[in-house]
Homo-oligomer: 695 residues x 2
């Protein structure tokens, strides 16, 4: 039986190998004329600068937490391998982000240049770049898993099988925290960076007449491009690395309680392997004709995702049958619940944020009465959009629970919920690709415009960029949906860990400590969003100052005779992002610990439940309000309601500016908050049990 | 022992008697010159029209639900008196709203006229009008309670005491639903009405140049004034009537489970009585000097509230000692927890929404970069404000639980939570007065302006109006805080009801059905807000149309030679409000029933917990964002950042317009949602248990 585990290292090698092939494929392509290269180089430079500084800060943070974990390990409050697994998790997640960013910043000029030749060639480059990110995330996560699983098997080889499995899964459950921290910095820091640049570049036109937003003379414009890569490639990658790894280890831990033993531990790994192969095959479905309409382009990507999903759905039948046997085939339906929930969430996201449907058009229409009605309409669209998405996830939870046999064996049902998360994330290789494709296309469009390419190039890159906006919205829906399911699996695994330690707990919903925890968890969602929105506001103000300074002090800049000091704006964004990270990072880390100490583990379980549920609805609201505002503005720019430059357009620009921090920073950061707090709760369980007032 | 119950009818008579005295005191005052009278008459006319139509719709709704309840009573799925108690609760709550509205619309012109003579005289009239609302709510709620308690005692007089108590409290627990429905229509309908008029009047200036917002030529101006009374007097009154009644009956039910028996049942009633007397004495503390500053005026009202709170805190010592004995004195501290939480929430609300503190000033400052930054800053201020308020309530919950002895006797602790809600609401007579005072002062200011009173009058009514804005914000904080505590008490009582029926339930937090319920509860908060914001947008658009029509079709209106048809705008608002009510009303009613059928009572408990926690944080966020935007605009109107008419001012006007529906309609409607769903869950428990899939 145990040989099934070999799927994991093999999948890892295949994923990384295929990523290397794609990297060579991309780098072989010409980068284009000198101007294109120069702009791309500036973005690359900025991204490198950001990542260098970010990883410095992250290293310090990791050093401190590593020290704390070492102490806890010595005190036997965490299993001894945890501090080291914390480091490897962080390292691999960081490495994935670094590789993804290096490739995406090299792909954008090549995408723009290839557009001279053909739309399909251009699409292939941008999509391949996204695919590298997807493959590297999956490959490195599985590599980390392989190494530790093998190592722990070797360490505990003397123990009897069932005991060994219990120790290994319980130990590995603690391993997600490294990836959590990396995700926190990448997603939240990246989000603040990108929106500070974006909002700052946007606002400066308000206070200083004549500085256009997308113009090489605007010193913030490179920072804005850097931000796209930093936030949507590296940030999104780290976010989903965490979900991917956590969903697998949580399900492994749940397998033991469900009484499935080794078979149940191996299944999530096998499903991950099946998903990876499906993703790679799906990659080859993505291509387009030369004269493609927007919807044909969307279908080019959809073919990839739907193809991979369909394939993994088929492959999972023999996998489940072979690994956990005919008597547990209900688990297969649990996997389908997760898979289809991912697809359905994507559909609803598109409905609420694309300008081909009524909700976004209603926002455009509301611009007739000014910015206030645009904001109100957008708020209500976003809030409304959370309804079908939450219902979808609820159905997936209940369905996966019941199909796995939760009606008879409660823990078996919970295992079903975990495996649903694994199922949803199994095709991550390609879903992340469609997501990380966006910034490449976006940058390609920006480069094409700034370097004055011929109209056909701009037309093609614009088409790819528009496609990127759609996939960005659906990608966010997928990210939060999977984060919610993963966090839920972690919550359940957390409760099992408590029971494993022989602690009796009173976790009924009417326990005031648990209820108090739910209140606090809900509230933390608001706290986190407030911090991040504030941070972006402050950082954007510094960008405005800097742009004004440069326009005042650099002679010839206004006339386009001299280049602005792009790197200064990048540095400001980087510094702001890193500084503003500290409070959210610390609060999401200490909240579960302090709650545990003051209200006991019952309070922590409440906290997690409150944060997951409120955070989920809030994240969807923010992502979709923001996406809808963005597209409502674009819809007017297409010439509706008077088009660009009218009062109606200005009103939707306000909506877009409000939506930017919500959809790209505050909203996605909630994915991190809910997973991070679950992970911290698990790792610091020993400490909390030792020092809590309610023991 | 049982004679303690007599406090209730006596308090009721005293409250109603004192209200009658105040009504005579107000009506004795002169209403002023013919113009003042005419404007006041128009507002009164509009309010009457609204209330007539609302009560017609409400009657139909009550008829239907009464029929349903009768069927359930025949099927023995609810106790037989429930259908009738449903009617009396609705009737008394409606009557309270009617009386409050009749008085407030008669007090505003008198307040304006008295301002000619003296600030103190003016304050006394406006505050007395608010006090009538407070007294009538408390008086009628206690009257309803007295009648039913006496009646049930008589019906079950043959039963042994402990059994009788159990039947009575368990039956009376079902009695809150009438007040719930009335509150739903008054608060949500009133909220939609008032904001449709307000936002519509505001927007019309955007599309039609030259129609000023506060001008007798604007046909929506009377509807706007009517709205203030309808939303903030009748709506707020019905909202708090429900909280007041529900907190008492929930605590009575919890007393039985706590093993306190009759003593525990009598205590909440006795505390309510002590609170009423304290409120009346507090009334006499409210007066001011002639040359009062703004802060002196605020202190005039605070003296009343703080005085009453202090008094009830003192009075409760002998009451608790005498009613439930020395061994239970911890319960006294639970009462203090509730009382002080109410006061602390008021303080935080003021901090986040008053322009004398940094948060609101930061919003004003952000106007330099346009409306988008005003919106973002306001969102983050509101979200941040939920943090200390939630922590306050959490401390109150945990404190009241532990002080009452929850560490030893779990049910005793839960009784403590219930009695904390009763404590918080005990001074409702006067806290509601400071709240319902606001619209009177607001209308007085409007009347003074429209009738062209001398500057000294305007100065004084402006000062009273500004004070009203502050109390409106703190009143909202109090309303949502008490709603959360009350809903929590109902949630716990609901669980006891389930156990009483001998049903075994699995209400641990890891039960997926319960978790799914939390997801749905959280989501319903977003759904509810989205519906209401959308509804206001639609209604405001109809107002815009109507105003434009009148300006086009009525000759001489533009020049002020002819009066607009005010009543048409009132009718549009009324119709919209009633029509838009239906979906929120139905969804908050059927959500717990459908959830119960599909996910069992475990799902319902999750639903309630999710809705209460998310709804609480969301309601605070919305109320305080809105309040802060409002005052940030006013701060600029005082001459800061360039003052009225500048771009900065326009930016904050956008903030104010966005905030209006959030703070006065969507936010407060969440109070109703969470209480209503708890109440519906209790009443339809029998039905759900009979037909649920998970029995």
């Amino acid at each position: 039986m145990e040989f099934i585990f070999l799927i994991v290292p093999v999948s890892s090698i295949v994923a990384l190998g295929f990523a290397v092939i794609l990297i060579f494929y991309i780098l072989k392509k010409p980068e284009g004329g000198p101007l294109l290269v120069r702009i791309a180089e500036a973005v690359r430079e900025g991204a490198r600068g950001y990542i260098r500084r970010q990883y410095t800060v992250v290293s310090i943070f990791f050093g401190i937490v590593f020290g704390v974990l070492l102490v806890l390990a010595v005190l036997r409050l965490v299993p001894p391998p945890v501090p080291f697994a914390f480091l490897t998790g962080g390292f691999f997640s960081g490495l994935a982000g670094f590789i993804g960013l290096s490739v995406s910043t090299r792909a954008s000029a090549r995408t723009a240049y290839a557009a001279k030749r053909s739309l399909n060639a251009s699409l292939r480059i941008a999509f391949s770049s996204g695919m590298v990110m997807g493959l590297v995330v999956v490959g490195l996560a599985l590599l980390d898993l392989s190494i530790w699983y093998t190592l722990l098997n070797w360490i505990y080889k003397a123990k009897p099988l069932s005991e060994k499995i219990e120790i290994i899964t319980s130990t590995m459950l603690n391993f997600g925290m490294g990836a959590s921290f990396q995700a926190l910095f990448a997603r939240v820091g990246g989000g603040i960076f990108t929106k500070a640049a974006d909002v700052g570049a946007d606002l400066v036109g308000k206070v200083e007449k004549g500085i256009p937003e997308d113009d090489p003379r605007n010193p913030a414009v490179i920072a804005d491009n850097v931000g796209d890569n930093v936030g949507d490639v590296a940030g999104m990658g780290a976010d989903l690395y965490e979900s991917y790894a956590d969903s697998i280890i949580a399900t492994m831990a749940l397998a033991v309680a469900a009484g499935l033993g080794l078979k149940g531990v191996l299944l999530p790994m096998a499903i991950a392997g099946a998903g990876l192969f499906s993703s790679i095959i799906g990659y080859f479905f993505v291509h387009t004709k030369e004269e493609a309409t927007q919807s044909a382009l969307i279908w080019a990507l959809r073919r990839g995702i739907y193809g991979a999903s369909f394939l993994v759905a088929i492959l999972s039948i023999p996998v489940v049958y072979f690994v956990i046997g005919r008597e547990n085939m209900g688990v297969y339906l649990s996997i389908l619940c997760g898979l289809s929930a991912g697809v359905i969430i994507g559909f609803f996201t598109e409905y609420f944020t694309s300008d081909t449907y009524p909700p976004t058009r209603a926002i455009s229409a509301s611009s007739a009465t000014g910015p206030a009605t645009v904001i109100l309409e957008g708020l209500s669209v976003g809030m409304l959009s959370s309804v079908p998405v939450v219902i979808t996830v609820v159905l997936a939870i209940i369905g996966s629970f019941l199909f796995a046999g939760g009606g008879v064996n409660f823990n078996m049902g919970l295992y079903g919920v975990g495996i649903a998360a694994v199922g949803m994330l199994s095709t991550l290789g390609i879903t992340l690709a469609t997501d990380a494709y966006g910034p490449v296309a976006d940058n390609a469009g920006g480069n094409a415009q700034m370097s004055g390419q011929p109209p056909i190039v701009r037309e093609r890159t614009d088409a790819l960029d528009a496609l990127g906006n759609t996939t960005a919205a659906t990608g966010k829906g997928f990210a939060i949906g999977s984060a919610a399911l993963t966090a839920l699996a972690l919550l359940v695994a957390y409760r099992n860990e408590i029971l494993l330690r022989g602690k009796s707990i009173e976790i009924v919903i009417t326990n005031p400590r648990l209820l108090a925890g739910i209140f606090i968890g809900s509230m933390l969602v608001f706290w986190f969003c407030a911090l991040i929105i504030k941070a972006i506001g402050r950082a954007a103000q510094s960008i405005v100052m800097e742009v004004r300074r440069q326009w005042k002090e650099i002679p010839g800049l206004r006339e386009g005779k001299r280049k602005p000091e792009y790197e200064k704006a990048v540095v400001i964004c980087t510094r702001s992002a890193q500084r503003e990270m500290i409070l959210p990072a610390i609060s999401s880390m200490i909240a579960p610990i302090v709650t545990g100490i003051l209200l006991g583990v019952e309070g922590v379980l409440g906290l997690l439940a409150g944060a997951i549920t409120t955070g989920f609805a809030m994240a969807i609201f923010m992502a979709n309000s923001g996406g809808a505002w963005d597209n409502a503005k674009k819809y007017i720019e297409k010439g509706n309601y008077g088009g660009k430059g009218t009062e109606a357009h200005k009103a939707t620009v306000v909506g877009d500016t409000v939506g930017d921090p919500l959809k790209d920073a505050a909203g996605p950061s909630l994915n991190i908050l809910i997973k991070m707090m679950s992970m911290v709760s698990i790792v610091f369980l020993g400490l909390v049990l030792a020092v809590s007032i309610f023991r």
